[in-house]
């Protein structure tokens, strides 16, 4: 584009240092927060009070902090579930479906072993909890792996398949917990039976053990991508599939592997939410809300640019924001869905920052000889 004597162009950035990556992430998040002020316009309260209500509840109120921690664990697993396939250039938007698959499989263990009735508890509870986690991970891996296999074998678009699986599993959960479904609670209120207290995930300092797992995975995933041959293959395949194939990397196995891993992580999020958060310990009737909340994992992984450790602070912030936004919504009588609106705004600023991450504006003066009209007269002499 030409502006007077200057030319404005969009050029690919040759190098992107880590500090620049972090800076784009921070700017995208701050911009979304600034834009979110228009959400509070319909409230009578001054703007600053709205932000204060949001942040002080999420990060300083004892109830709020605990809610933020639980949600962070949930969103961290969702983030990994999206992040691992993304490193291979694939989009796993099947987070809600894999979350539901994990929840259903975890509850199937006590259901099949008839242990939801405390009198017939047969196996030691510790073993049962491990079984529940394993069942959840396996179910999620199967759900994700199905999409990965189709992608690997037939090049079926993974976005469509995972989205279809979301809808299928959403209705399957409804079937299982509502209108006389197998998992329906004895009171018949459209939610699943509650887990007996012996099967609640153990707490460490009031925080479920899944927190430890979530943080370990953050370290392991970054190590996987930075230091191992497998991680290198996944990254190479994600950057340029054709070149990777030329270099001897087998795409079929990789596509399947990343989706198996991704699905298992999302299922652990489901396990965490339905079987490890104090006060829940059941599949509630509004499970769809938590499934959709998993989409925060997409934006967290995108803003963190595929770094699992880098995603941790982002996820904690998002968890706090979504918890605080819900609180502020009640406090300031805002319409429902402030947390979802924030999700949308974050996505918008991410897409904008994505352009600036890959391109820079070239701003150069057009050399004056290029602008000068060609002389029409011959010089004298």
């Amino acid at each position: 584009m030409r502006l007077g004597r200057y030319e404005l162009t969009l050029e690919p950035r040759p190098a992107r240092p880590a500090i620049f990556t972090a800076l784009t992430a921070v700017v995208a998040i701050l911009l979304a927060l600034a834009l979110s002020s228009f959400l509070f316009l319909s409230s009578d309260a001054p703007l600053i009070d709205a932000y204060r209500a949001m942040f002080s509840y999420a990060f300083f109120n004892p109830h709020g902090v605990l809610a933020t921690v639980h949600r962070s664990i949930y969103l961290l697993f969702c983030t990994y579930a999206f992040l691992v396939p993304l490193r291979a250039g694939l989009w796993n938007i099947g987070l809600p479906g894999q979350v539901y698959a994990g929840g259903l499989a975890a509850f199937a263990v006590p259901f099949v072993l008839r242990t939801h009735n405390p009198q017939t508890l047969a196996l030691p509870p510790g073993l049962l909890i491990v079984l529940m986690i394993a069942a959840a991970a396996a179910a999620g891996a199967a759900t994700g792996g199905f999409a990965g296999l189709l992608r690997a074998k037939l090049q079926v678009n993974e976005i469509l398949v995972t989205m279809m699986l979301n809808s299928i599993l959403f209705w399957l959960v409804a079937y299982m917990i509502k209108e006389g479904g197998p998992f329906m609670s004895a009171t018949g209120e459209g939610e699943s039976f509650g887990l007996p207290s012996s099967l609640h995930a153990p707490l460490l300092l009031g925080v479920p053990v899944t927190a430890v797992l979530a943080l370990c995975v953050a370290v392991l995933l970054d190590l996987l991508f930075a230091k191992t041959a497998l991680g290198y293959r996944i990254r190479a395949f994600g950057e340029n599939p054709a070149a990777a194939r030329y270099g001897g990397i087998i795409p079929v196995a990789l596509s399947l592997l990343v989706f198996l891993l991704g699905g298992a992580f999302a299922a652990l999020a489901g396990y965490h939410y339905f079987a490890a958060v104090p006060g829940v310990y059941k599949i509630p009737g509004n499970y769809g809300y938590y499934g959709d909340l998993g989409f925060y994992g997409i934006i967290a992984a995108l803003i963190a640019r595929g770094s699992s450790l880098g995603a941790v602070p982002i996820v904690v912030l998002f968890a706090g924001l979504s918890v605080g936004a819900r609180f502020a919504q009640g406090e300031l009588r805002l319409p429902f869905g402030v947390d979802y609106a924030l999700l949308g705004l974050l996505m918008m600023t991410f897409v904008a920052s994505h352009v600036l991450y890959h391109f820079r504006f070239g701003w150069r003066r057009i050399p004056s000889e290029a602008l000068q009209p060609v002389p029409t007269e011959l010089p004298r002499g």
Binding site: L154, P335, Y340, L343, G344
Partner: protein, 291 residues
């Protein structure tokens, strides 16, 4: 029985409008995976406008306008900035999902206007849909503009060399595609099911996107596919009409989605790709840099 058929055909117009818009997009080489987002936004804008002004026509106008604007937004990112079209499309979808949930929630509930008059029980949108299919087919395969659109999607460099303004053609197509997606959302919220609800589409947009791949980028096959899915959708809502008492109604709701997956697999097999899949626009999803 006629009532069920009429209702199914109305459901199929929603798939049809959105998919037809996406087909035009894709024929020009632009992939928009955020179709559902455009429909959500169009539908919500139409609902809010119609409810506040009391006019269906203004509602449709709002849906069309917003859909077109969002389509242009996707175009700006994917054509002008040459960004990743999947990133932009997914961004549009999540943006719409988040914002419409917030903006629409004060309007949750029925529309509260009279039903749009029907012709012998059939929604007027179905004949409109058939007409649009015919127009799109004529436009794409019988006019110079259609040839320009298709060549922009097949080989933009060659098209540019032969004097076709690829960028303008693609912008025209994303605007048209966005308007059709907005129309589809508006048809849902103003006519098919005039009740606003959080995330009311629940996958209609993604099914429409899949329909475009099934259609082999041909509007007539798209019409057949959309009608089939409309019937399937309606039957999944009221399975008792065919198999009363078999399986829970929730299990039936999974059927349209479950059928989509094997169809996607069949059209992805090498056999199908080599025999029938040649209609896929060659430059689909690839940004074009003027050389």
């Amino acid at each position: 029985m006629w009532e069920l058929v009429a209702r199914s055909l109305e459901a199929s117009t929603i798939f049809l409008f959105a998919a037809l818009g996406e087909l035009i997009d894709q024929r020009s080489g632009v992939l928009n995976v955020g179709l559902e987002g455009l429909m959500l936004f169009g539908g919500t804008a139409a609902f809010i406008t119609a409810q506040t002004t009391g006019s269906h026509a203004l509602g449709f106008l709002a849906g069309l306008t917003l859909g077109g604007l969002l389509g242009l937004g996707h175009g700006f990112f994917s054509i002008t900035l040459r960004g990743d079209q999947v990133v932009s499309g997914m961004g549009l979808w999540i943006l719409s999902f988040g914002l419409t949930t917030y903006l629409g929630s004060p309007y949750t509930g029925p529309l509260g206007l009279g039903r749009i008059p029907s012709l012998w029980g059939l929604s007027p949108f179905f004949p409109l849909g058939v007409a649009l299919v015919a127009i799109t087919w004529l436009l794409l395969f019988r006019t110079g503009l259609g040839l320009a659109i298709r060549s922009a999607g097949e080989n933009p460099a060659a098209a540019e060399a032969s004097g076709i303004p690829v960028t303008s053609i693609r912008f025209l197509c994303v605007a048209l595609g966005g308007m059709l997606a907005g129309l589809s959302g508006a048809t849902y919220t103003l006519s098919y099911n005039p009740v606003w609800n959080y995330n009311f589409l629940m996958g209609w947009g993604f099914v429409s996107l899949a329909l475009v791949f099934f259609s082999m980028w041909n509007p007539w096959i798209l019409l057949a596919g959309a009608s089939l899915f409309g019937i399937m959708w309606q039957l999944s809502l009221s399975p008792e009409l065919i198999l009363p008492g078999v399986l829970s109604r929730y299990v039936w709701r999974t059927v349209p989605f479950a059928i989509t997956i094997p169809i996607l697999c069949i059209i992805s097999t090498p056999w199908f790709r080599t025999r029938w899949g040649l209609a896929k626009p060659e430059a689909l999803g690839r940004p074009y840099a003027k050389g």
